[in-house]
Symmetry: C2
Subunit: 700 residues, 2 copies
């Protein structure tokens, strides 16, 4: 994929300049200095030769093949340059020039135009407003960066060109090798989905490291990322996480589910590792590029001093990894080879006067230990310590069977040791905590890769009935689906709904109640009232005919007075559900990633504690259960304080049924079941109240 862009055999530079300091000079110089081996075709109307390379007045004058054209002319000339390049037969275009969407409306128009020109010609375009592109295994630096790092396994996809300059400087300064450097700029044509797909098939790319401000096509992103992540890790720093969501939402789910939650859910689904900070992004990058994945979460720590060992052990436990127990054989071998004062338990402390042999031996023993999945080794530059020799000795024993990450703590004294480690492909970090955080990402990614196959259960349901209810609402112009109709829809998806009917008079209410048997609940029914209880529109536990009559008349009277414009269709009289734990199931449709399901315990747990979990639909049985387990209040579901637990399977099934419903009916844009009442094991959960919002109807 994107062959001509990423692996071109010839490159034209429209706007090549002979003036050092200009972007058009820097790009041409980068290609030449980088050692690009195919034809380089500078285009400049007034130069014969630049940097000793023959120049063309017009790209159409060149009679060879052009795979890739880099455009660096002023903004107003870009379109013309693109047209020329297309006519000259270019197969891909990079527009480095800025001055488009980022400058306002006029620029945005121009950007649309150039994208259309490319699209119509079937030529893919990267940019505009980019730093450029590098393929370091192809000796291609088609960018105006004057830094060319070494070739290696890390590929960068970034929405900020400036940030790439920092990453290039970091890679160059530390001798970390890169595969591709992709600056996406304004993403007028090619975007993260295209590049992730392409890098998925690029054998030189061992890990994709990405800085993203936005994702344009949520579902395509998930599909592409999930597919690529099953082959190689994708680490993303997604920024703009704290921007106020700003979206008005009438449901609980809607108000709790900001854009950042949706990104989190999407990344989880797709197996994308979310970096916590810029440094963590790069820390993960080198770990994945250099080391094999751990098979599990059991970590051995080797250190030449106690303190750093404790720091590492704290970090390991805090992030949910395990400070492993070494096998007896390992402990025996360590004991017979290390001085008595050394610690042979994990962390293994070889002591400050340990030489390279002892240090490397401890790493070798940990590597061979069946109880060890990953190794962190630490070094402080004590008086007897030889960082360089110790690094060399360790590189001799590492066999690549398990991930090995290092922290040589310090700057100058440990410097030579660090260089040895880097050139031997061992990632090394300033602090033990950072090494642990990188290993944690590896463990999580390995667990994701080995997740059970995602099988989404399809329940037999009555779709026709839902269609009818939805159709009726659209026809009547009702955007909100109230309790009665929402329950009709849920019943069609086999939810357990209490028996009940809408009464239009007090007498009818009593008739219904007598038929159902007391106690009953009564709730106002109106397409114009969403928050029934705020208006006194909910009464529960009514136990006799006079209570029912009073409730009917008072409700109609008082709500009629409070909201005179509301269309009061009557009062729903329902059999009271058995007592149980109240939980909320919800759905809110994210503009990028589609239906996102929410779970939380009812009442204060959602409203005060915000103790909720989210997951994108469609949902598997395992994922539904994970949503329950992920809440802080999970112990209440399992049974706490001497109370027996509730039927969690019925909650999980409810989440799966909602997942199916909202996948089947994209017009449902919000949904709350609040509460679902769940009883003890073996009982069926009951929908006590529900509501939905649909699209396609103008807000009244």
């Amino acid at each position: 994929m994107l062959e001509s862009l990423l692996y071109p055999e010839s490159i034209a530079v429209i706007g090549a300049s002979r003036t050092p300091g200009k972007v058009g000079y820097a790009v041409l110089n980068g290609l030449i200095e980088g050692g690009f081996e195919g034809p380089i075709i500078p285009v400049n109307p007034s130069a014969k030769k630049i940097l000793n390379t023959r120049c063309y007045k017009d790209i159409r004058d060149y009679d060879g093949e052009v795979d890739l054209t880099v455009v660096v002319v002023p903004t107003r000339l870009v379109k013309e340059a693109i047209v020329g390049a297309i006519e000259a037969g270019t197969k891909a275009i990079i527009v480095i020039t800025a001055g488009f969407k980022e400058t306002g409306k006029e620029g945005a128009e121009l950007e649309k135009e150039i994208a259309a020109v490319c699209r119509n010609a079937g030529v893919r375009m990267m940019g505009p407003n980019v730093l450029g592109l590098m393929n370091l295994h192809h000796k291609m630096n088609a960018s105006f960066s004057h830094v060319t790092p070494e070739a290696g396994g890390i590929s960068i996809i970034s929405q900020s060109g400036a940030l790439i300059t920092s990453i290039l400087d970091w890679a160059y300064g530390n001798h970390f090798g890169l595969a591709k450097m992709i600056s996406m700029g304004n993403k007028a044509d090619l975007n993260e989905v295209d590049f992730i797909r392409a890098l998925g098939e690029d054998d030189d790319t061992k890990v994709i490291v990405s800085y993203l401000e936005s994702i344009d096509e949520g579902n395509l992103f998930i599909r592409a990322a999930e597919s690529v992540a099953s082959k190689k890790p994708i680490v993303v720093l997604k920024v703009g996480t704290t921007e106020a969501g700003g979206r008005a939402a009438s449901s609980h789910t809607g108000s709790l589910a900001g854009a950042d939650v949706a990104y989190g859910a999407a990344f989880k689904r797709a197996g994308v590792i979310r970096a916590e900070t810029f440094e963590h992004l790069l820390d993960c990058g080198i770990a994945f590029a250099m080391q094999p994945l751990p098979e599990g979460n059991r970590v051995a720590v080797i250190t030449n001093a106690g303190g750093p060992g404790i720091i590492a052990a704290d970090a390991i436990e805090e992030c949910g990894l395990v400070v492993t127990k070494l096998t007896d054989e390992s402990i025996n071998e360590l004991e017979s080879n290390l001085p008595e004062a050394a610690s042979t338990a994990n962390p293994i402390d070889v002591l400050g006067d340990a030489g390279p042999e002892e240090y490397a031996m401890a790493v070798r023993i940990a590597q061979a230990d069946a109880n060890v999945d990953g190794i962190i080794f630490l070094l402080t530059p004590q008086a007897m310590t030889k960082p360089k020799e110790m690094a060399e000795a360790v590189t001799q024993v590492i066999d690549g069977s398990k991930p090995v990450l290092a922290s040589f703590m310090g700057v100058k004294e440990v410097g030579p040791g660090r260089e040895i480690l880097t050139s031997a492909g061992i990632p090394q970090y300033f602090s033990p905590e950072r090494a642990v955080a990188a290993l944690k990402a590896m463990v999580d990614y390995h667990a994701w890769r080995n997740r059970p196959p995602r099988i989404v259960t399809r329940f037999p349901v009555n779709r026709r009935r839902v269609e009818r209810v939805l159709h009726r609402h659209v026809k009547l112009g009702y955007r909100e689906i109230g309790e009665v109709s929402a329950k009709e829809i849920l019943r069609a998806y086999d939810f357990n709904i209490p028996e009940g009917h809408v009464a239009t008079s007090a007498d009818e209410a009593v008739d219904i109640a007598e038929r159902l048997g007391y106690p009953v609940a009564m709730k106002i029914t109106s397409p114009d009232i969403i928050h029934k209880s705020d208006l006194g529109g909910v009464r529960i536990n009514l136990s006799g005919p006079s209570d029912v009559m009073d409730a009917f008349d008072l409700m109609m009277l008082r709500i009629g007075r409070k909201v005179p414009e509301a269309d009061l269709q009557g009062v729903l009289v329902e059999k009271m559900a058995d007592r149980g734990l109240e939980v909320i199931l919800g759905m809110s449709r994210d503009p990028q990633f589609g239906p996102m399901l929410m779970f939380g315990l009812g009442g204060i747990f959602v409203e005060v504690m915000k103790d909720v979990t989210f997951h994108l639909a469609p949902l598997t049985a395992e994922e539904a259960m994970q949503m329950l387990v992920g809440t802080r209040s999970y112990a209440l579901l399992k049974g706490a304080r001497g109370q027996s637990g509730v039927d969690m399977a019925s909650i999980a099934a409810g989440l799966q049924r909602i997942s199916q419903l909202v996948t089947d009916f994209p017009e449902i844009i919000e949904l709350d079941i609040n509460p679902l009442i769940v009883g003890k094991l073996g009982t069926e959960a009951v929908v006590a109240d529900a509501r939905m919002t649909i699209s396609g109807v103008d807000e009244k």
Copy 2:
């Protein structure tokens, strides 16, 4: 304080060696190479001169004054060396030699002996098992480190000598200046309390950076740290945070309050900044050493690219600082001096082609802006960027009125700029997030420095009555104080206790109930039963004489059967408290830091959600209120979901009264009021149940 140790005028080295590679050589060499200006007295039985310095066979042969003696002889000779040094009139001793407590029982004995020798002579000792001591403003390197950093404002106190070698290497490699380097080793005599006090009075020390594994004297530590922190910041990395507490505790408070919670509470009280990681420790160190404190939490960000600005803004909001709104004047000035495409809102983006003038101007404007308390400036090495010149320009405009922290993102290209910043005293970090985290520590510290004066209210109470109850329990050998007596104690401290009496027969129970008026609660009364409800020993809401009779007889019968050995003294009959919100107030006594108070909402909030806050006693009114505000469920206290709030003042007063009680009576080692029932504003909270544990009684 510690004059002779930290600022000696003459130094003897017992065990000075002429063999390079030996510690005794390294120490002597360090003193000479470091340029120590007073007499240096090597002591070695067989050398005449070492490193061109006259040697003595015995320290007693030297006829001048000896302020400080450094001991580096083998373990078995240490005591003899110390005796000699004391006889020679030394005023302070550093024992570098290891082989003491850390090796086992025998070493611990020897350590006690040498500490006693020093104590008896009135000579303070540092160590044993240390790297040594440096006073870089005094040209003193009395350690076996061969790295001597520059003189500066950061002082290090560390319990790990090896970790100091990393810090020295970091400081040396980055040109960060240090004041004192203190390796505490086994802390046989001098410990963190002594050193914090001494550094508090050391004018060269601008910030104390400390690595601690344990604190020996909790209360002294708090007092010393609080006093010093009011003059200069103390940043501590406390490790061993995840070690299993292991302490069996029968109360809620006890089981929730691990050692790490106590350290957290102690640091909060003392104004100690707790570093999250090793890197954060050092990041804070340079920020405090180099920059003034911010007056508030409003941050301006200056950047030469959008991406890093977003990263910084996210980090600022996430940690609770504020991305400030600049004044109109600032925005106008920026607008008229920057190109149109630049962003003049905060973050201020001067764009990638900005030169040193634009960049420095933005910093100057932000510095002068009345809405700005602190500045973060960021730089990516883009094509037109001149890191060195831009750093230079910024250093010209910074006037020291507000903290300014930088992140020059990259390694090699930005290197020269970083060096300029460091030598100009501007801390700089690899990533924006780390700069923000350091600034956050400064903001928090400034807020602590400006906290209201701590005034602990003393309530009028009846101490005599408490003494009588406690005395009675000690006499009877009861370690647990059950509900009836616990309430008697609490009543003496003016808690609101429901009226009630212990009945010893069913008839008496009815008599009491009739007098109190229905409904009543009934609870089994026995010194042997702690968890009454687990045994069916609690009945509530009993509304008539027959209920009361039944409850009495059944309780006595069934509990008598279940726990035949329990001494059942009767049943407490109490007036039911009005309904309200249930909260828990507790106290658990930490071995280091003394009484620690706990607050949480009752039931699941404590047991399932672990939503509790802690604070050390004695407690001020503000601190008590902070304990309420600090819970996640605080909204429920204030009033949520249309419910009115509760009387928070009565909870806060309750916490203060407990604080006074447990300060007055150290023999109370655990206490739970569970629940305290709190009603709406203006009502008094009622103690529904309570229990305590006292010391001084053997567990039965």
